[in-house]
Subunit: 404 residues, 2 copies
């Protein structure tokens, strides 16, 4: 793929945001760029699969690379609780521990503490919570969140943020936004000099006014990158897109924008059009383990009896290892038989679909054809029905807070 | 590896047993040979991993080949119930269905009906049983067992046998042996001309007299191969070995001998010394999913807290993908976190251990050093304590009959 003229590697290294904007779409906010990290260059827009516990579920690092994915997201909250930060530090850091030599992004644990852990007490100092694994009590502060992420050694690290439910009232949300700002500042001060890029997280739920405050406060602190947090948590999709649009408009053009926790194909395309560069989400891997596979026309479920005797692959348009090797009937059989290989083959397919989508998006931006690509894609891709989607999301969030 | 002088491929093809004996150990019954199958030559002694439902749990066919395993065992009982023989037939046979182009051995379903299914009624005609999946009622006869296995298209197929518990009394065991003989004869008659090798199964539990009768009756029928069934079902290990020794002595030298359901390293070595050529067992893959890993010194369990901070591989002597890539600490973490990748990595290790063991065994037989290899191996390999082993086996058999 042709790469437009831009600054050289040296200039990129000296650029504090470690981000190079290569091309912006003439008729949308979509943009192609590159993130420079200590473990290599990441072309953007980029999707990072989730490896919360130091593993993209079912796959080896070699498979993730073969799929064409360059950067994974691990989770400070999970790794802090198990195996523990000192263990990973002793094993030579997270890259070595999980045998992944590409870029890693770590979330600070903010979101997980507020969604998975049994919450005890939030104060300006930090948050005391109980482990979802064994109920043990822990305190995390902005300074500790940075210390842990420095010990893990990820390439991109995140500030500790307070992440309320999407339906909290304005006052509660305002309080969380203010605290997130104070914590971001403390994270920035706590960070040791080095080559990790620390991104701030814009919060504010669905309140445009709070988003505006948050973007203004954090951009004034001049972080190398900005995340949009607190979205895709059960609010209607139109609200998500409006908030992305409003927030991106307030962020500096030359810095990367990372939309946290969004990973459905239609949302990625829509968010790229609104100027997002970086995505992470457990959705493609999680729904794979339930038999849901992405296709050009939308999601299908391989558990459906219609696949019982289909000799062609689950997705005839797909060139992934799964679709090149196995019939839909075999994949259906593995799921009906609860065979672990099924979860793995479905994961390979969904991540390949997303990886190919990111490449097509990037190619279209570079070619100046992104808008027609987007229109074609969204015209054929049938998103999961909004009502079903919201019901599933609520069910999943509920199950998560109950079980874990 | 040097191969001794033997008959050419043409002669092998004309040999009804499709077996070539290459070398016999001068001071034990151990022997090296080759099985000729429509999907390639299988060097013996050989271990076949279990793919009951058409998948070696967690692994792809490419991985199984990379591990060095040439033949897998699938199960007529499981595949008959799900997805159903007609589905696999329509998908082009079992090889194509599971994307495995190497040799396949199918068990007839006899053992599974007597261990997994809710048994309804055995008669001379066949056996009526209820599915462990949905309780539906089915009849299987010797003729149907052959018809199903012909439809699946395995390279080596088995007669339908009656397989009582190891502690049945003599009269019950005698009855089962007699019926197994009648069924074997009917299977032989039912088999259509073709290139599938149909093996008979010697039964008789731990009664030497019944084993003798069984071997005599079945060898008179001149099958291309003979299996030793009804062992390793909870009886003391010394009894197993004595029965193997007695049975092998009664089997024709020029035909392959297949010990069903035995797969621990120490048992394989001991049974090879007693003249066994073919093995299958779910043990290496099943215990892998519980964190038990084979090493030169015996089994270890990666879940053990001692591995929490071990930077070296789980087995430093091992060259498998798992041990070359990941630390013991990481594998320990995956198991503690119940990550699916852990089950897969442990499976790769255990199957590689067994694959390497089979290669060493074969090399030692060809070099004439098998007895010293065996002594060295058994001197360093600490088998699982007999009491623990029996307790585990009973627990597993009980869980299996309850759950499935």
């Amino acid at each position: 793929m042709a790469v437009a003229v831009g600054p050289g590697m040296e200039e990129l290294m000296n650029n504090p945001s470690k981000f190079r904007l290569i091309r912006t779409c003439p008729d949308s906010q979509a943009r192609a760029g590159e993130l420079m990290t200590p473990h290599g260059v990441v072309p953007t827009p980029v999707f990072s699969p989730v490896a919360s516990q130091g593993t993209v579920k079912t796959l080896t690092p070699v498979e993730i690379k073969d799929i064409g994915l360059n950067m994974v997201l691990a989770n400070t909250y999970h790794l802090y609780l198990r195996p523990g930060i000192p263990v990973i530090e002793k094993m030579g850091g997270l890259h070595k521990f999980m045998a992944w030599d590409g870029p890693i992004l770590t979330d600070s644990g903010g979101y997980q503490i507020f969604s998975l852990a049994q919450l005890r007490q939030v104060s300006d100092e930090g948050v005391i919570f109980r482990s979802h694994i064994d109920g043990s009590q822990h305190l995390i502060t902005p300074e500790l969140a940075i210390q842990f992420q420095e010990a893990l050694g990820a390439d991109i690290i995140m500030v500790l943020d307070e992440c309320p439910a999407y339906d909290e009232n304005f006052e509660k949300m305002q309080e969380a936004v203010n605290r997130t700002h104070q914590w971001a500042e403390r994270c920035q001060i706590a960070q040791k000099p080095g080559d990790q890029a620390l991104y701030a997280i814009v919060q504010g739920g669905s309140f445009a006014e709070l988003r505006r405050q948050s973007a203004a406060y954090l951009t004034a602190l001049d972080f190398p990158g900005y995340a949009i947090g607190g979205l895709s948590l059960g609010e209607p999709k139109q609200e998500t897109l409006a908030m992305i649009e409003d927030t991106v408009a307030l962020l500096p053009e030359k810095k990367p924008r990372y939309l946290m926790g969004v990973g459905s194909p239609e949302d990625i395309v829509a968010a790229v059009a609104r100027g997002v560069d970086v995505f992470d989400s457990a959705l493609p891997t999680r729904i794979a383990r339930h038999g849901a596979l992405f296709t050009r026309l939308g999601r299908v479920n391989i558990r459906n009896a219609a696949y019982r005797q289909i000799e062609s692959p689950a997705d005839s348009d797909c060139d992934c290892d799964t679709c090149r090797t196995f019939s839909a009937a075999y994949l259906h059989h593995l799921f009906k038989s609860r065979e672990l290989l099924g979860y793995r083959l479905a994961t390979i397919h969904n991540l390949t679909f997303i990886s190919n989508l990111m490449q097509k998006i990037k190619g279209a931006i570079l070619d100046g054809t992104f808008t027609s690509f987007k229109e074609d894609f969204l015209a054929s891709y049938q998103p999961t029905d909004e009502q079903i989607r919201l019901a599933q999301k609520q069910k999943w969030l509920k199950a998560k807070s109950r079980q874990q």
